[in-house]
Symmetry: C3
Subunit: 439 residues, 3 copies
């Protein structure tokens, strides 16, 4: 993961262009991506694919010829989608094209202007403050061409056609947490799921430029997703913090929303929950637009906007950490494994209590006495017995596994061994997607 | 409003009779009332129209011939619907026919006995306490005749046949807050609504004697209201206090109930909320009787029973104030304007986000940077942008405007300019009455 | 009740056998039980009727020939369902067959081993601690025979076929609260209900061995109960404490659940509420197994597991008290009387307010004045008037009596006189089982 990070970091990505293709190509070495291209000018719903931005070089010189900002040093120095220019301007005139983060004097901001032609340079505020009067020279060697917008996806088939979507974006240049954390976690989560012995769901991994990319993806695959999507996650900003931060889907009640809340309540995961907001966030805003309203949430760790390095040069591998990404892969796998088991179950012996000792599942003396004799041992058995009996009572086709876990006062994760054991013994059927399968 | 108050105040109103007709006649100078009469003895549901009460004169004299109570001085002195009498009685005997408010020694109470024949005088408690022993003479020149019960209404047509009902009563004699505040506010609210450029709803203004009047009205127009009523308000006691007091409709969820709660929660209005109670109140008890169960609440300011002047001679223009009635007209207009926009909306570009800049609705650089450059200005834009995006996401035919306002954390009133702008730009359709209009 | 207790207490009951039949026979002197027998080996759902256990004698002697435990002294001394044995063992070997309650040194525990063949003796811990080394002699004269499992029931017919089930168990030997309290309360509750002037519901009283007995009962009568059961209660541990403890049915919303919660909220009963738990409790676990899911709760007073005498020789008449059982009968009758009236009502005069004075139900002067004249008297009438008007408004076929009581802020019990009066005057119809009977 560390190596892949290092090879992806320097690339100057944008919502179209060579950086995007190079990124997809590097990812393809790790998972079998099918890549797609949408030509410039294609109408996608209320939007249109913009021209490709080609950037070759850019620099800004002060009155003494010193280079103040150089694209070759950091691709953050150039306003993304800047038009070509070669001018000499006074400091005051030039300042209209300079962007800084005043409260973070050492940071170079990340600025874009995709849909209105502008040009500009991004520098640290302390450099700005020290600039002498005089004539500045700005040079940007860029062009806009009829090209395409690129994205890729990879599908891991499962027993059911119902799908779980994992979507991440690949359009930001040299930023760590708010760019590479998403596709890196997605890639290594793919490897995990590919190794599972069986998959109930089909898993769809998508890598695309933010907003226009997901709108393009929905333009092509939206109807398919409307029919087949069981749950989905947009991955973004998955480095940094110790615990996850989950933004619920638009309904707030999709399967992963439920599992997340259940695991949090039972402390099987640490984290905080954000409500769905259509006005800021990532591609969940598109997946959850009213015409699609897909069951897609967004998983983060160090959330965009809530840390100093957001959208500037302080967003590095050191503040993100590869270790945090590994934790994200672990936590996401845990959630998706719970999702594999979530659903409705049927107790095949629903009339009266199941005779557990017959099936090798019960202490055969009445329990209060046994308790007296061997306190600790029975205390363990008692928990197991209680969970077994509670599970079997609510395995009625009317209660979700998350609800049964609530009734057992344990996490859905802790019930997975019971699901396995009772299934193997032929006592339960399931999981079913729909409520009300008859007993 | 002040003049109309002064001309209405001295009239001796009751649930039938000349005072009622005179009141309707004075109101007709301000709004085009259609008047109705129901003959004495007519059966209206479980009730029957009583005989008309005609009162010409009444007085009570002490042993020295001093006039203790004189109908010509105040119509509150006579128990409303008193039978004719001319008797001389000892103080003890006479006291059985005297009514006072012991805890308010200067107040003359307002007492009625519509459905049981009695006679009596109302005087201040301090007068009662000072009465000397001896023979008292009581004279009441009244009669009961076969006549009619009167009420009037006025209908302002709108684009839809769905109606908003404004109902008030006109059966109390010389009382200010608990009589004239209702019909005065209704009359001047009518003038406001008549001046609106357009009306989505049809507005029905009703003036009638309390209880028996609304039961008579429902007997004639109840079926029409059951079919057409969208929401309604009984207006009573709208003077005095600084903020409104709203009694929810029987369901607690009619459109005005929702708007009221939303505006209160977002501090767009000040006030307190009362639950529906069938056991006390005004004509909402009849409109909300189980056979009709109409969506009618009741709006007050200085609520009946909760102020010293309730049902006695302390209820004057000075404690009510004309200014408070004007505030009531303003607040009610605000609520009804919100109600005009309440409903379900449809975003016509529901697939992916609307491309706001195309429609002139979006800053064209990414926002965090813009924020850095111009803090205050963008803070304003950000609120507008957030509300626009939130509105468009939930303009899905499934969310009411009040719900969208909740999601925007602002009052429904603050969203009205967005409704107007987005409608004008052809981006949204609505409001619709019913949920689930397809996208 | 005291006499019946004394005759039932010494019997050595088990889940099958002579003690069970003797208990049923003694109960039949108090209520007309129809008795049933299920042959050994009969399959009942996932279970099988075990062989009958016949116990004639059992004793344990220390090395000096002193009798340490004697079945004839207390039937708790023998592990219930012990196999026959006659052995001499060292103290260490013998200890593997001895059961005590270490934290209650004087108590003899109650131990069973129904479904695995074992033998053992139960003694107090202080006796165990004082046992000298040496050879011990154990003698158990028991046998297992092809016999039957017995239970009985008695049905009190009512106007409707819908049934209320009262179920209790009769399989524990000499224990008071956790054995005899249930059948004793059931028996005397039967006597009360048999004396009611009329019964809306049919009442079914069931006496059976716990678990295997109720499973057998469901095997035979489960389909009938699924069709006809309106509500039910398992009675257990009804002695001791001052207030009741109710375990809700599986749904938490059956009629008795609702009535219980309403009466508790309005302090018409004292008690605490337990949620349904499938993993411990009594026969409600079988009635509420997912294949039946019957509306059955469980009523207790001094709950199993929560008092020192639970499942040991400290559970006596003195700690239980006959007086507590009488309170249980009283409280249960109160609940069942409320249940008789629970349901939906229809106001036959639903259009406008009912003209109460016509029906002799209303003070005929307006109330605020009357209030002035006679404070206390009217304060009483006002409560009655308010409840009458509230009841009539919500007697719309949509509100349960428990809900109307909530709206009246009184207990369902306090509304019973109103139900009676308004029914007698022909103003209301009901109670109906189903919502939405048209007005």
């Amino acid at each position: 993961m560390d190596q892949l990070f290092d090879s992806l970091f320097p690339i100057c990505r944008s919502i179209t262009g060579e950086g995007l293709r190079e990124t997809l190509s590097l990812l393809t070495e790790h998972l079998p991506l099918e890549n797609f291209a949408v030509p410039t000018g294609t109408r996608v719903f209320d939007w249109e694919i913009p021209q490709e931005w080609v950037i070759r070089d850019a620099w800004l010189k002060d009155p003494h010829g010193n280079v103040i900002a150089d694209f070759k040093v950091s691709n953050l120095h150039i306003v993304n989608y800047s038009e070509p220019i070669h001018v000499k301007l006074s400091l005051d005139e030039m300042k209209k094209h300079l962007y800084t983060v005043p409260h973070l004097p050492k940071a170079i901001p990340y600025v874009t202007s995709y849909y209105k032609r502008r040009w500009g340079f991004c520098i640290s505020h302390e450099v700005l403050e020290a600039l002498p009067e005089g004539e500045y020279e700005a040079f940007i060697d860029s062009s806009f061409i009829q090209g395409e917008l690129n994205y890729g996806h990879s599908v891991l088939p499962g027993k059911s056609d119902r799908e779980v979507l994992i979507s991440s974006y690949i359009c930001h240049p040299s930023l760590a947490n708010n760019e590479l954390s998403g596709p890196l976690v997605a890639t290594f989560l793919y490897k995990r799921i590919a190794q599972w012995q069986q998959r109930r769901f089909t898993y769809r991994f998508v890598f695309l430029p933010e907003t226009i990319g997901s709108i393009s993806y929905l333009h092509r695959f939206g109807d398919h997703l409307k029919q087949n999507l069981h749950a989905g996650l947009v991955l973004t900003c998955l480095g940094g913090e110790k615990s996850l931060s989950y933004k619920l889907s638009r309904s707030g009640f999709n399967p992963i929303d439920r599992i997340w809340k259940q695991m949090l309540a039972q402390e099987s995961l640490q984290g905080n929950t954000r409500h769905f907001t259509p006005e800021h966030g990532s591609d969940e805003r598109q997946y959850c637009s009213p015409g699609f309203n897909l069951p897609v949430g967004q998983m983060s760790r160090m959330v965009y906007g809530a840390y100093p390095g957001y959208h500037n040069s302080l967003d590095t591998k050191e503040t993100m950490t590869i270790e945090a990404l590994q934790h994200s892969v672990d936590d996401l796998e845990k959630i998706l494994l719970a999702n594999e088991a979530e659903g409705y179950y049927i107790n095949r012996f629903p009339y009266g209590e199941v005779k557990l000792d017959k099936h090798g599942l019960y202490p055969d003396m009445n329990s209060s006495t046994t308790f007296v004799r061997s306190n600790n041992q029975i205390e363990d058995n008692r928990v197991q017995l209680n969970r077994t009996l509670t599970f079997l009572n609510y395995a009625d086709g009317e209660h979700l596994l998350t609800e049964i876990a609530d009734l057992c006062r344990c996490s859905i994760e802790s019930l997975l061994p019971y699901v396995k054991l009772l299934s193997q013994k032929g006592i339960i059927d399931g999981p079913y997607f729909e409520k009300g399968v008859s007993l």
